[in-house]
């Protein structure tokens, strides 16, 4: 991943309300955490970015089953391949069916159309949000247990 690609990613993320973004490819682990200003403040703070080069002793294709080799070498996804899943309802965002369960999806998860991504609880009504696109989860934009608004972006999916 070259600096231009990183810059493109930052631009892509900066105009969305993205809490955290994680990506791992070809020995590089990229983690972007944004700090959001308080309500009523409209200027966006710059995202905090850490890029860590994971020491790779030897190529280990088995260790990264979620990312096919060809894809790892591909350039950063173009914006038109990215799909944002937004909240259809006001409520509380949960990444798993219960506090002890595994998350429905993580960054890097491969998903099909119809895969459950999260639950949003609204007045004790548990709403399962299914993906309306197939591909890979590249960003999870809300933290578990946080309130979400109607239309708030929840996930970024890189479409197949």
């Amino acid at each position: 991943m070259n600096p231009k690609e990183i810059k493109e990613l930052i631009e892509l993320l900066s105009d969305r309300r993205i809490a955290e973004f994680e990506m791992e490819r070809a020995g590089i682990k990229l983690r972007i955490r944004t700090t959001h200003p308080g309500e009523g403040v409209t200027t966006a703070l710059p995202p905090v970015i850490t890029v860590a080069s994971t020491p790779v002793a030897a190529p280990a294709p088995v260790a990264a089953p979620a990312v096919p080799k060809a894809e790892a070498a591909a350039p950063a996804p173009a914006a038109e391949n990215l799909h944002t899943v937004k909240s259809p309802i006001v409520g509380t965002f949960y990444r798993a069916a219960n506090p002890n369960a595994k998350s429905f999806v993580d960054v890097g998860s491969r998903i099909q159309t119809g895969s459950v991504l999260c639950i949003i609880e609204a007045m004790k009504l548990m709403n399962e949000i299914e993906s309306d696109a197939a591909g890979e989860v590249v960003a999870i934009l809300v933290e578990n247990g946080q309130p979400v608004e109607y239309g708030q972006p929840l996930f970024t999916i890189k479409k197949d």
């Binding site: 309802i89 409520g91 119809g114 007045m123 004790k124 399962e128 949000i129 309306d132």
Partner: protein, 249 residues
């Protein structure tokens, strides 16, 4: 509306099974009930005890064409439906109530729990499943439940024959036909109906458990989105949108 009622002797969970059927295209009004659930569940996968033949374990599939802002009100709708069904089957001297948002209390103890689930494909509402577990013939319950339980059998006593599971099923379907039609016609009206049915709407001193936090106060009606308003000792009014009402007086 037309109901298509399916019965199974044993099933993992009627909600889980009906959700599967919903995504395979089952039509509105499909109902599934079972004699026994091996993995009966409430919210957050809490275990719902479902011994064979003792309770009515029922799920109803709905596909409402409503604005999604009204969708959470279906939680309240579920409570009103079961309340109506049990009221028609229960002598007037037995007290029925709805604990916010939709637990049904008989003589102050929980006789029915409801798990309301919905599914969205992206932005489009695809299905709603109202799951109901009515305690009918249970004579004992394990310790440690969130709220004291009862069954129709326990509340009716030895002298008075209690309604059967089939009676309760029929009552719930009748009430669903009436109340769901009203709801589709004008969703916000369920707020007033709920207030008329529940002593929890106004002036009830309650404790709400929200994660590790406890909120205590006096109920002050429902907000338009269905949240229960609670006035705390400090005088602030807080909407309850998550958590469980764990005690009341």
């Amino acid at each position: 509306m037309h109901f298509h009622v399916l019965h199974r002797e044993t099933i993992d969970s009627t909600n889980t099974a009906l959700k599967r059927m919903a995504s395979e295209g089952a039509s509105e009004g499909t109902c599934l009930y079972a004699d026994e659930q091996t993995a009966g569940r409430g919210r957050f996968d809490r275990h719902w005890l479902s011994p064979r033949g003792a309770g009515l374990y029922l799920s109803i599939l709905l596909r409402p064409k409503i604005e999604t802002t009204y969708l959470p009100l279906m939680s309240l709708l579920g409570g009103v439906i079961v309340f109506d069904a049990l009221r028609a089957l229960t002598p007037a001297d037995l007290a029925l109530d709805i604990k916010y948002p939709n637990d049904i209390l008989l003589e102050g103890k929980k006789v029915c729990g409801i798990l309301a689930e919905a599914g969205f494909s992206g932005h489009a509402l695809a299905w709603v499943v109202l799951g109901m577990g009515v305690n009918v013939g249970q004579t004992e319950f394990p310790d440690g439940l969130l709220y004291p339980p009862t069954s129709l059998k326990l509340a009716f006593g030895e002298q008075c024959p209690h309604p059967t599971r089939e009676d309760v099923l029929q009552g719930i379907l009748d009430a669903t036909a009436t109340r769901y039609a009203e709801f589709l016609d004008h969703p916000p009206a369920i707020l007033q109906t709920w207030r008329e049915h529940s002593s929890f709407a106004e002036g009830k001193i309650i404790t709400v458990s929200v994660g590790d936090r406890k909120l205590e106060g006096t109920t002050r009606g429902l907000r338009d989105d269905g949240a229960l308003l609670v006035e705390t000792a400090a005088g602030t009014v807080e909407p309850v949108t998550v958590g469980d009402v764990v005690s009341a007086r």
